[in-house]
């Protein structure tokens, strides 16, 4: 919204995501994880968030993903503010796909079941869920590992299962918190390719936190954070 009114042209599409003066405080305001953050992300953008440890990257991603609510400020998804009353779980389920550094797969479930997990408790037909999960895993090059336990998969394979899981509900926004942080460089590269591919092939918007300059260089735009504020936004140098 901010950008739309500031940017001016009627043709410019509404950004998928807008943050207006967003803060997130902990410990009664003594810890300012985020301190007046403003920015917007366009549909189909691949944005990297970089910055030192403790600068507020994960906090920012949590707010965008409606895992937490800001202490101050507002967040908009396609122009509509998330409200405290809204069914945030339903919002996450419909629009957001999360990918975490340490995968967070459920060890008792197979790869396929992990991918179907977000759809559990929803009114999808089980057969349709299953077909979709199988095809997503196949897209991730895991056709032969459908029934493997995550504990038997390599880190790269696990993260690909997690990406498939993030995609099962057909979200429009993928939020990845250091998705390559636990992987060796070859696997990191492969996972990054998949994430870049999501944008290219499916037109998804990706917001990814990373420490790695080499990885953030692949993004359309890098947002650098320090002490809960955005340091500089723009094209990577």
């Amino acid at each position: 919204m901010t950008r739309a009114s500031a940017g001016g042209t009627a043709l410019a599409a509404e950004p998928i995501l807008g943050l207006r003066n967003v803060s997130l405080h902990f410990d009664d305001g003594r810890t300012k994880a985020l301190d007046g953050v403003d920015f917007a992300v366009d549909e189909g953008e691949f944005v990297a968030i970089a910055g030192p440890s403790g600068s507020g990257k994960s906090s920012l991603l949590n707010l965008i993903g409606a895992l937490d609510v800001p202490s101050a400020g507002e967040i908009f998804f396609r122009g509509a503010a998330y409200s405290g009353n809204a069914d945030l779980a339903a919002f996450r389920g419909r629009h957001i796909g999360f990918v975490f550094q340490s995968f967070h797969l459920i060890p008792t479930l197979t790869a396929l079941e992990n991918v179907m997990l977000p759809a559990l408790g929803r009114s999808w037909s089980a057969a349709a869920q299953r077909r979709r999960a199988e095809s997503l895993l196949a897209d991730m090059g895991l056709r032969d590992r459908l029934h493997s336990s995550p504990t038997t998969l390599s880190g790269g394979e696990r993260q690909r299962v997690a990406i498939a899981r993030a995609l099962i509900n057909e979200p429009s926004l993928i939020l990845a918190d250091e998705p390559t942080g636990s992987l060796d460089s070859a696997n990191a590269e492969q996972v990054l390719e998949f994430l870049v591919g999501l944008r290219a092939e499916k037109g998804l918007t990706v917001v990814m936190v990373t420490h790695d300059e080499g990885i953030s260089a692949r993004a359309d735009r890098v947002i650098r954070m320090r002490d809960g504020r955005i340091e500089r936004a723009g094209q990577p140098a």
């Binding site: 993903g65 895992l67 937490d68 779980a89 967070h104 060890p107 008792t108 997990l117 977000p118 408790g121």
Partner: protein, 375 residues
């Protein structure tokens, strides 16, 4: 995959804890099943004995709450009763729990008025009936014969008197199969209660209606102070032993339910604390709070129902062990019914949901961001 299979997987993750929780619930449920089936079986066995005899009303001392009502002099009461309309027969009965010889468990000894209708429902298997009211003879129920290792032609000792076993019989009522039977006069002599009976059994004629039975009850209340005419069901439910057994089974139900719920509560609270981050993940994946609650409740229910099923099996084993125990054989038959088992499963459901509710609520209330940061 569905919520239930996911819940099952979560329970299998901690097999030892799951097994322990399940066993604790099973033990409680087993105690409930064993005690309750025995308590109600006790009542039913006695009632069945009275019903098998064809007794319509039982006249007893009003205040008596013993398993066998206290004895009273039969003659005056009996004369009075015989005058009421539709009363076809009045048969005195004396009953005592005696030990037969040194090594045998105590056994019921029944004395029935010679020639009365009481004898008619028995099936003579071997030998004969007593020749007259004064013959020192006994008949053994099938189970009593087995327990005492006696048959026709053998002799048994009762209170220092010797009796000849002249026959064996079978009854549809367990307590009678487990009993030694003699004439009322012999029983009065053995127990040193001449002229006395524990109860007078009334058989009404074929034309008697419910209203006629009520009339007799009313007459007894008015004309025989200190006495009451009651049905066999009323007699049994007045029985103090039956009432104590039932009270104990109620207390057991309460304790087993509470302990079971606490155990489920503790286990599920531990389980969700361990899985805090995982619950954060589920929330990030779009699971609603209600779905997370359902998952936790589902796990609690699986624990409780599995514990309940195992408990029912163990409880039935305990009850049949008790039935077969030397001291109890022939006196109690546990009763089970589908509604009984369903109620026990209902109790399991209640303790499962009751114990799981708060942990489920806790899990659902977690802030997803905090849960994901956990550890």
């Amino acid at each position: 995959m569905n919520l239930v299979s996911f819940a099952l997987g979560n329970l299998r993750r901690r097999p030892a804890r799951t097994a322990l929780t399940l066993s604790a619930i099973a033990l409680g449920i087993a105690a409930v099943v064993a005690l309750t089936s025995i308590a109600w079986g006790f009542e039913a066995s006695w009632q069945k004995a009275n019903d098998a005899r064809g007794t319509d009303l039982i006249v007893t001392r009003m205040a008596s709450q013993n398993a066998m009502p206290s004895p009273f002099a039969a003659a005056p009461v009996r004369e009075q009763l015989a005058r009421y309309p539709h009363v076809q027969e009045v048969a005195g009965l004396l009953s005592e729990m005696l030990s037969v010889g040194e090594d045998n468990p105590p056994i019921f000894v029944f004395g029935w008025a010679y020639g009365s209708y009481l004898w008619e429902h028995l099936k003579l298997l071997d030998g004969r009936w007593p020749a007259d009211r004064d013959e020192p003879a006994v008949l053994l129920g099938t189970l009593a014969a087995e327990l005492l290792h006696k048959g026709v032609g053998d002799r048994i000792e009762l209170e220092g008197r010797s009796f000849e076993v002249v026959g064996t019989f079978q009854s549809t009522a367990l307590v009678e199969n487990g009993a030694v039977l003699m004439t009322l006069d012999q029983a009065q002599a053995v127990t040193d209660k001449p002229g006395k009976v524990n109860v007078l059994n009334l058989k009404l004629d074929g034309q008697a209606t419910e209203a006629d039975a009520r009339f007799v009850k009313e007459q007894v209340r008015k004309a025989l102070p200190g006495y009451a005419a009651i049905t066999s069901g009323e007699l049994v439910s007045r029985n103090a032993v039956v009432r104590i057994a039932k009270a104990m089974s109620h207390v057991t139900i309460l304790i087993a339910g509470l302990v079971g719920a606490l155990i489920v509560f503790n286990t599920m609270l531990m389980s969700i604390n361990e899985r805090t981050r995982e619950i954060g993940v589920l929330q990030a994946l779009g699971w609603r709070r209600t779905t997370i609650m359902q998952l936790v409740i589902c796990e609690s229910l699986v624990l409780a129902l599995a514990g309940g099923l195992v408990g029912i099996a163990v409880g039935v084993l305990i009850a049949s062990g008790l039935e077969q125990a030397e001291l109890m054989r022939g006196k109690i038959a546990a009763i089970y019914s589908v509604p009984f088992f369903l109620s026990v499963l209902g109790l399991s459901v209640v303790l499962g949901v009751g114990g799981g509710l708060y942990p489920a609520h806790r899990a659902a209330r977690l802030s997803p961001a905090q849960a994901l940061r956990h550890e």
